[in-house]
Symmetry: C6
Subunit: 210 residues, 6 copies
């Protein structure tokens, strides 16, 4: 049974698209978190059949970004002048849990900064409001799914290190595993210094001309 469409690895050509890892009863799966901005009034829209915990996870990620906008390099006026939509395909598959927290964080931060996401990178981990990264479950299955999909770099919480160490070494070959404790470490690893090709120019002044 194929729950998510098991797409091969994709280059991160779009700002706001980040690869996450899900655990299902049939094994691990990769999924994509997509964030998109459009001129608006600061509304947040969440879609993709997300459960309440996953929605709260997105809200925590956004609050972290808003509270740390300056450090991340985001002009805070963006939050008022653009609407943010976060979508997780496939649209008909129910999704829940807090483990997409750091993926949502990275997706939103990339959309707001238009910085390119590191190629062949995937991640999983809960995020708290103050930016702490918490461990999550299903690590082995997630890692295997990432490998099958061509991922080479993975971000996990330090507290998940013990789960990785229980995995047979040969599965880890060819994988760079980054352990993190805090949200700023995630962004430092995941976001490239350069912007995506054709990065959007946000209009911050006088959006409403009439």
């Amino acid at each position: 049974p194929e729950i998510f469409d098991n797409e091969e690895y994709q280059e991160h050509d779009y700002a706001g698209v980040v690869t996450g890892l899900a655990w299902t009863q049939f094994g691990g799966e990769i999924l994509f978190i997509e964030s998109s901005l459009s001129k608006g009034k600061g509304k947040l829209t969440l879609s993709g059949k997300l459960g309440d915990v996953m929605k709260e996870s997105a809200m925590a990620a956004l609050s972290y970004i808003r509270a740390n906008a300056e450090e991340i390099g985001i002009d805070y006026r963006l939050f008022d002048k653009y609407d943010l939509h976060v979508h997780v395909p496939a649209g008909a598959v129910p999704k829940d849990g807090p483990s997409a927290g750091i993926t949502m964080l990275t997706s939103m931060a990339s959309a707001f900064t238009q910085r390119k996401v590191r190629d062949k990178l995937a991640m999983t981990g809960e995020i708290t409001l103050r930016g702490k990264v918490l461990p999550v479950g299903g690590i082995k299955e997630k890692l295997l799914a990432a490998k099958r999909a061509g991922i080479t770099d993975l971000i996990f919480c330090y507290k998940n290190r013990k789960d990785i160490e229980e995995i047979n070494q040969r599965y880890l070959k060819g994988l760079n595993i980054h352990y993190v404790d805090r949200a700023d470490e995630v962004l430092q690893i995941a976001l490239m210094p350069q912007k995506v090709k054709g990065a959007r120019q946000f209009e911050l002044e006088d959006v409403k001309k009439d």
Copy 2:
């Protein structure tokens, strides 16, 4: 049992009306997505007994259009000064699922641009926020329903090609099948360069005179 009123093919004389394809337990059906704009404040109304997944699908399509307004040729002020209503007759038939994503996209884009939709065209496919088109189910039944209704051009996701190739060749005769990967390809195929006859002139400045 006739769930949808199985109307013969109709010319696309109206901007905002696009033919989609549905799968029901009694076979494939064609359906129509209607988008309409009226002076307002940017409100989105969805009707036609749509389930949550289908509503989120419409929201993703709209966010894609808003984020790519310039490329599609839409003055972004339209989003603030007009309300958008998307309706899917028949009103008493429950509908759900993500497969109307690209049909909704095309319907909205046609309403905003007033460009004519290609005649005798139908389509099915999920859309994601970044404009990726995902494969959907029920391809054979949908194709047959389209053919019965007089459709000659069909848009599917590339990943549904394998489903088409399993269909007996004689059913495909007289059908032009367009495979797409991205939303901009859908719009390029579906929207004619010219506007519909009697295209509406949107008022973008000073809508409220008092």
Copy 3:
């Protein structure tokens, strides 16, 4: 069992009151759709124990009127400066289904234009956003109820013609049946050129003097 209060035919002295036809398990019934405007901010209120499909039907009718205001002869500022209330007595009887679509359309259009509704007229038919009229069920029972109530003119969808042709000719005597395909045909038949006696004068400028 008398579900609706089976009132005899009433002259259409009030703008915004239109006779519809309902199907119940005890036979056909006539019902009245009432639309009323009061100074406000463009709010829509629906009452009369209406189900979701009937509410969406009202929303589609209103969107059609808003998108075609100029053709119908309505100053679009009315939509911003007045609230619209649509009520369907009797208040304790649950009602649902899309078949009151064209009745709601006519009721709203009469309220906005203050044009008189044709005497002894009743109608039934679903309306879509683009103004297409769709066939509905229970035609025979509805026709008989209309006749009992003294109705002489009836509007149906063209696609319901086959249902009428199955009715014994003697029941059709004395009835003018109008078949329509589109909303503008409905309004042309149902609304008289003249306004009702004591038609309201809407205030369009400077409603809020303070």
Copy 4:
């Protein structure tokens, strides 16, 4: 079992307080509808454990009053500058149904005009948006409850006349029964020309001084 506190008749010293009649499984009861205005922004609050039909009934009564403000003698600016609260004690007793429609109408109209309600008057009847009064059930029990409470004047719908005529004549002695067809007749009977003692002076201009 005493569901409502069976208060003896009360003089209508307060604007906005009107006696209605309810039917319960233990017989008829009188109840009071209270309407109160306070400076605000036009919000409507309904309380007293009211069911949806009774709430819609209140909304229809208010829309009728708003649409006919001039005829009733209400400055329409009141609707924007004051909040209206309608409460039906006792607060813990669930109430529903459309039969309090004309009582709510009278209560609201008295609150807005500050006109005194006729002494020893009670009423029951559904109201529609256009001001039509519809018949209701439980007439005999309601009449007896009113008599027990000292009521001398009663308002019913003309179509309830047949229910009254089935009641033994001796119960009707000492009662003036007013039959009505329309909302304006109700108000003409129920509201005295003079205002209540200590009638409120509404502030219509410049409510917000800062």
Copy 5:
């Protein structure tokens, strides 16, 4: 089983804190209603696991206060410039019913006027929108609970007098019982002429300086 924390009597040092009486299946209990104002826009917040009837009771009390602000001595601008929060500890105990009506009224009125609440006073009674006080149940148990807690003054509805008269005289010793019919009598008994120590100074003009 101790449902409420059975606190001994407390002096009313805070404006907005009033002692009420509840009936539970284990006997009577005292409870505290707390009202607090903070700069805002006129929002009402209710908390303490309150049921719908108790919430509506609070709304009726507030509407009475708003409609009679001048008589009570409240500058009506307070309602727009401050938010009101009414809380009933303990937060985990579900509470419902209309009998806290006059306690809520007194709590709110004390918060708005900053007048001190009479020491060693408790009360129970439903309030209606026009300020009528209605009788409630559980009088004997409530009186005993008040006495245990050191209460010396009690306010009841006149119609509850018969319930008091059925109580053995020796329980009533040392208790002053005040019977009331109307909300203004409640406030006259419950609120002292003087303000609490350290009464708040409300800012009524120009709250928003920017």
Copy 6:
């Protein structure tokens, strides 16, 4: 079964992060309440799978802070110009009850003042709107969990003193227990005079420059 991730004691380097104590069916647990401010319009967001009682608890804490802003040293304009988000990890664990009241109070007050929270401190206790602290359950299990986590200072309600006195003395060794009656005592114990390192500078004037 490990419900909360049993983290060792953490220094309170962040403003707005406070250690609370929870009771679960498997024993006591420490948890963290996180409060974060971002430029906004005064919206309150609560997350972490919180039940209604816990949400109301947060609302009561916030109202207390707003009503006593001056005493606590908070410029009231912060409440209008910043949004407050309170989150309680782990995001997937359901939490309810009023016992986190004083922890939420301290977390919010630290976020608004940017004052450092005392190191190695934990607390539990319900808070009411007027700032009264109420006793809570599970004291022994909570104390043991705190000790295991390296906590040295604990805040409880005075009325929980009897629960502490029933605990074997040797468990209390090395613990400073602070008993409180009121919210201001909590803040005096919990908040250090100095601000956290890198304390945020809030912008109070002219947040919206356009």
